[in-house]
Symmetry: C2
Subunit: 377 residues, 2 copies
Amino acid sequence: MSATEKTADQARVEVPLGARSYDILIGPGLIGRAGSKIAARLPGVRAAIVTDEHVAAHYLAPLQDSLKDAGIQSISIVLPAGEKTKRFDQVIRVSEEILDAHLERGDAVVALGGGVIGDLTGFVAGIVRRGMRFVQIPTSLLAQVDSSVGGKTGINTAHGKNLVGVFYQPALVLADTGVLDTLSEREFRAGYAEMVKYGLIDQPEFFSWLEDHWRDVFAGGGARVRAIAQSCQAKADVVAADEHEGGHRALLNLGHTFGHALEAATDYDGNRLVHGEGVAIGTVLAHQFSARLNLASPDDAHRVAAHFQSVGLPTKMADIEGELPPPDILMNHIAQDKKVKRGKLTFILTRGIGQSFMADDVPSSEVLSFLKEKHPQ
Amino acid sequence: MSATEKTADQARVEVPLGARSYDILIGPGLIGRAGSKIAARLPGVRAAIVTDEHVAAHYLAPLQDSLKDAGIQSISIVLPAGEKTKRFDQVIRVSEEILDAHLERGDAVVALGGGVIGDLTGFVAGIVRRGMRFVQIPTSLLAQVDSSVGGKTGINTAHGKNLVGVFYQPALVLADTGVLDTLSEREFRAGYAEMVKYGLIDQPEFFSWLEDHWRDVFAGGGARVRAIAQSCQAKADVVAADEHEGGHRALLNLGHTFGHALEAATDYDGNRLVHGEGVAIGTVLAHQFSARLNLASPDDAHRVAAHFQSVGLPTKMADIEGELPPPDILMNHIAQDKKVKRGKLTFILTRGIGQSFMADDVPSSEVLSFLKEKHPQ
């Protein structure tokens, strides 16, 4: 936590990546101060703001005004909202509009939105003129604590999600915690699941703190800023140790193997299951599976499930509305996500709260038996 | 030259970029040995070969056989030949075919062709699964001495050339000097102009050696291997010092500001002027312009022109067939290529043979007067 600085209601987390180090500023009202923050770090830039229709309705005008007040010329590109925007056709459209405006390599591309906008815009910023400056203004809790840290950008193809992209670090991230007040309770909870994950990876005291203070985090104010800052710091530490996902970074996938399988099994239908809910169920399953393998106490799985339940997150497959495909189909989704080598899988398991680790020899037969046991039908 | 190793007819140049360092192997017959060279460095990979129709007719089957003999499974993607292939639609097509074949991040994308294939394929390799392994097998002299070293990849858009791309380093470059025997004399000369450029940047003894041995280089054999290796080493040295084009790398643009303007002025019509010819004329102009600014002796410009003439390259605007636009239009092309700041341009100039430097305060009025003086009409 050494690089985290806090004032009453604002925090700064530094992501230490040598010449590509950058700051994440966290606090309420940052969109209104975006112009001065950007101008201070990137003097003389012009900017292309990329956002979606929903976010634009609330925050585009304030951001444009803030840039203008700081003397930053900008253009705005407003895309359709939703996952379908993360495709090559929108990459081409945004690239062409940036070039139409004669923006140069030293100018900035600003992503104003959730994960879809951040992932797409980061990819565009990484490839136009072989890399322009990139500023992230994440407007969902999930984007603030997860996708805006780490430099993964990308789009979907017919073959799957995030299959095309680059590793590209922003020059600055502005996480305006005030915008989270306009999120639905469900969206906020989904982002919260990722926060809990950081505690469960390797910060047991953060998990305990969330158990005690989650109501304050949901209510906003200093506790929310602190929790977001700690989450960003946790991810930044992992990314700094393993920028291009060689090994250690895999721990960030705690709960995600089961979670992705459930998202795929529900056809990515956000009415049935959003990503963070899949992560919540997947994280509980990862703890239960670790207990089944005699790696951890079943009490830890109970404790994790109890916390997710208390904030209103789902914790088991039966919590998902509608019918799920049978266990062997779920197993196929897992095998697609993770390469199976001679019947063995790589899996993030745990020895207890905050003691996760990467196991690369999990028999797929064990996973299937476990899924059969937990499957609601 | 420390990292260059030579045997009778093969050389190895190491591009020193830390964890991303790689070898360039140079010599005849390397396509036939590609399989074993790749298998030795990237054990267990599968491969996607990307090439164009012209190159495929000569070299695809030998490359496929070589990979097969080394136990490397491969698919082949054959694209239309020509600059129009460097576009987003082909990026999408190649990406989809690689994903169709279930190639993973650790598998290799192999570019078999000239600069167009290398630039497009490198871009695809850099973005599919956020970066796969990339092997270059350049089949033109220009690609062997220029575009296959340095990690610049990219495609063209409606706004101009190479405006979208990434910096992405290959894992291995195989420069098969035998394939150059099938190039037209004109193509070989065009690549040769870039070799001469390396001597003129900062290796006066290499320029002198080329003056004495250019017939041997054109004839093939050991002198050709040596000249290509020295060119790759020269570019590798510059790239290692400045991978992402902050400053020093700009020296590689010696002759290119005038050259690009002439290419644009002839609508990139390869019948009238190919890139290397533009570089030859541009390099002579850069030396003449330096003399006009009293930076270098006019004798140096004469010497450069005399050498280009002796190998059959054009050296002045009048050598270009057909009419050229007037000087002020040429000046506009230069201003588009280089940003003009308060009437001043950044230009690569020289104090003599092998003494080039970057000047960032060249008055555009001086450039225009010079163009008027040298313009044939």
